[in-house]
Symmetry: C2
Subunit: 122 residues, 2 copies
DNA sequence: ACAACATACAACTGATTGGTTGTATGTTGG
DNA sequence: CCAACATACAACCAATCAGTTGTATGTTGT
């Protein structure tokens, strides 16, 4: 049993499930920002913003790079794309349902239950 | 001040940030399932699964339809697509950064700070 | 050197979450 | 009718979360 794939999905969707973090992600996708520059934009403590940045970093959506005494955060668009591809998988599953209905209406084969994903029982 | 847009995003990403819920979503995107049929697939109580279904429903990722004594759940692919489009917005912002660098390298105009999204301070 | 800045991290709090059990309400097949 | 089924919902619990304050550590400009 692996789980690292699903763990990554957990971390990414969780990171995106907070509007402050989504806003931070927008800023760092637009360009590098130091943590304190980010913190200045929000009506909360520096430590709170720092934690949000850490959540985004753990999820891989953001990377940090030292520059003197500042820590410059930058959004990782590849990580965003990997989330998009997870959603694309969901769409594919849905498309599979339609295809199954099509073949059924054509009297083709008796609905051969699609290649269901690992079907974990957590 | 609205917030409903961001509220929807909160609900959707939160709903997706749990592997059991993602698994349920896969199943109901593939085809209708009653809540008890879903519950039978997981090693947790019926009530727990029922709550997961409710979270997905509140996020709009799933709709329920009564059929006799059963409640049939079906995945809403349009909602999945709306999440995809939120991610596409993020990618666009990133693309904007690249474009700005391009125009800068062309000595075009002095980086006219992109049309930053509402920039809320939560 | 040192004061101001940028960051990191620990400890605490209230709210939310994911899970449980128990109970109540409809629905159906025989 | 009624027993078995499908769902709903409340109350509770442990864990996690989002925020706070406080303290420690490294960096820089003068």
């Amino acid at each position: 049993m692996d789980g690292t794939r699903e763990d990554r999905a957990d971390a990414m969707f969780h990171a995106l499930a907070d509007r402050t973090r989504r806003d931070i992600l927008r800023r760092v996708l637009a360009g590098e920002h130091s943590v304190s520059a980010l913190a200045a934009s929000y009506d909360m403590s520096f430590a709170a913003v720092q934690k949000h940045v850490a959540v985004l970093e753990r999820a891989g959506l953001l990377t940090k790079r030292r520059s003197g005494r500042e820590q410059l955060a930058s959004g990782d668009v590849e990580a965003v794309r990997s989330v998009t591809s997870m959603l694309a998988e969901l769409e594919d599953i849905w498309r599979g349902r339609i295809d199954r209905i099509d073949t059924f209406l054509q009297g083709d084969r008796p609905c051969p239950s699609p290649p269901s994903p690992p079907t974990p029982t957590p």
